[in-house]
């Protein structure tokens, strides 16, 4: 749990020292990044218990459905890693002074990002045959897609030609919507539609694909 907060913690300290006025943005980003990296935990855990513990053989050769296995594992990881995210949320509320609507929107956005990343994590976990490869690639993947785009910093600082790309990436799209609700970032109605549409549509597609993939991979060919 402690390591799950390492990147967010370090970035928050940097922002606090270098640009304290952006602390609100950084807190919002840290919460979204935290739920995004839960997909990395799902990837690591799902692959590890399949490869090392043969848990798939134990659980899937029985009455449990493959989609229940995927959802149960993802929910289990959420429960384990939720405490530090809640603590982060409480700290953010104290620093940023959210309204109830802003707080609820942030929870909704973080939840959607969690569904997206857990689905991606589970699907990717099925491709690996060796744990050592997973740890290297999964950290890289989740950190690059969670740190480089405007998740921890204002959306407006991202190069304008790349705005649509950032809005279509669930972590930065969700962060942009959250920043807009806090009045930190201005999005045009087109940009907002792109962010909301992208987030919802991509999440639904990836989630449904993960369900299909869980069923598809329960038996090897």
């Amino acid at each position: 749990m402690a390591t799950s907060m390492l990147v967010q913690g370090v970035l928050l300290i940097f922002v606090w020292i270098l640009a304290p006025s952006l602390l609100g943005v950084a807190f919002v980003g840290a919460i979204i990044f935290s739920t995004f990296t839960m997909g990395q935990r799902v990837l690591n855990e799902a692959a590890y218990i399949r490869i090392d513990h043969k848990a798939n053989d134990l659980y899937l050769a029985g009455p449990m459905s493959p989609e229940a296995y995927f959802l149960g594992m993802s929910a289990g990881i959420l429960v384990v890693y939720l405490a530090p995210v809640v603590a982060l949320g409480a700290l953010a509320a104290a620093v940023v002074h959210f309204t109830l609507a802003q707080g609820l929107l942030l929870i909704a956005l973080a939840s959607i990002v969690w569904v997206f990343s857990a689905s991606v994590g589970y699907v990717f976990s099925t491709f690996f045959r060796d744990n050592r490869a997973i740890w290297a690639y999964s950290s890289l993947f989740f950190n690059v897609f969670g740190v480089l785009p405007p998740v921890f910093y204002p959306f407006g600082l991202f190069p304008t030609p790349l705005h649509p790309v950032a809005l279509l990436m669930p972590p930065s799209g969700a962060a942009a919507i959250a920043q807009m609700s806090l009045g930190i970032t201005h999005l045009t109605s087109g940009e907002l539609a792109l962010a909301v549409g992208g987030l919802v549509v991509e999440t639904v597609i990836v989630f449904l694909f993960a369900i299909y993939w869980a069923r598809r991979t329960v038996r090897a060919d």
């Binding site: 134990l58 050769a61 449990m64």
Partner: protein, 308 residues
């Protein structure tokens, strides 16, 4: 429910290999396991035992052939077969952050078993497997044998009608192995059916009502351990260290196998005296004993079970 727990007909599994000829792991396996039986698949490493078990437990698709669990086609309707089965996977491990008690209980709950029943069955399975004393220790702190017992406890607690156990006693001490055997006997008396793979000949002999010897994806022989031993051609085994050079002289007494400079002859009790006279005349030491499943395996397969 049908009386046949498992039936396979001409089951084949071929693995394609990039840039090499495909590997035929199963080359038409037909077998039947009746309800309440304990049946062992006996074979060397790579013989196809685990592949068969993976297909039977719905985790691997066959290339061709049919396989049914309690009348349900495993390939076409796996979701109908799954509620009837539970599997101890080869080299499976309990979750390290759970205790054996939590491991068994969680698994039973995941299979949809109610709280009270799951609790009762957990305690019973831990007791049977001799895990009560370490039931509250994290699995990561357990020995290899204890972890394996936790896996077996997890699966026998399900009381599923058909249990697949892939090398269930690997890494266990003799005492623990006997506990597992006793639990399996109890389970089949209560109506469960067990198909296990093993390369321990004593386990197959002590535990199974019937066994199938598999080699290179084919069933070479099926029957009881006694049937197999009788098929060797005698009930007495004579080992003559240094007798390999004289194999031709002894061949008339029965089947001969040489291993290094030692000669093993399977002989009927009636011809034992005559053979011993020849051994004494040839100035050879002799060790006499009953034929075991090992000789039967060696004769059927042509190689020892430990030979790769």
């Amino acid at each position: 429910m049908t009386d046949v727990a498992l039936r396979s007909e001409n089951l084949r599994k071929v693995y394609p290999v990039k840039g090499a000829p495909p590997i035929e792991a199963l080359a038409g396996v037909s077998l039947e396991v009746r309800r309440g039986e304990r049946v062992a698949l006996l074979g060397r490493n790579g013989a196809g035992k685990t592949t068969f078990l993976k297909i039977a437990s719905t985790l691997l698709r066959p290339t061709s052939g049919r396989i049914q669990v309690f009348g349900y086609d495993v390939d076409q309707t796996p979701e109908k077969a799954r509620p009837y089965i539970a599997v101890v996977p080869q080299e499976g491990k309990p979750f390290f952050h759970l205790t054996p008690r939590e491991q068994v209980y969680t698994y039973l709950r995941a299979r949809g078993i109610g709280r009270e029943t799951a609790k009762a069955r957990t305690e019973e399975a831990l007791e049977k497997m001799g895990l009560i004393e370490c039931a509250n220790r994290l699995s990561i702190t357990l020995s290899g044998g204890q972890r394996q017992r936790a896996m077996v406890a997890t699966v026998i607690a399900t009381e599923a009608p058909l249990l697949f156990l892939d090398e269930p006693t690997i890494g266990m001490d003799p005492f623990a192995r006997r506990s597992v055997w006793e639990s399996m006997r109890t389970l089949t008396r209560q109506g469960s059916t067990i198909l296990l793979t093993t390369h321990y000949l004593d386990e197959a002999e002590a535990l199974s009502h019937r066994l199938y010897i598999i080699e290179r994806g084919r069933v070479l022989v099926a029957g009881t351990a006694e049937d197999l031993k009788r098929s060797v051609g005698g009930t007495v085994k004579v080992l003559l260290p240094g007798g390999a050079a004289l194999v031709e002289s002894f061949r008339t007494f029965g089947s001969c196998v040489t291993e290094g400079d030692a000669l093993t002859i399977i002989v009927t009790p009636e011809r034992l005296g005559e053979l011993m006279e020849l051994a004494v005349r040839s100035k050879l030491m002799a060790t006499v004993g009953p034929v075991t499943l090992e000789e039967a395996f060696l004769r059927v397969v042509g190689r020892s079970i430990d030979e790769n």
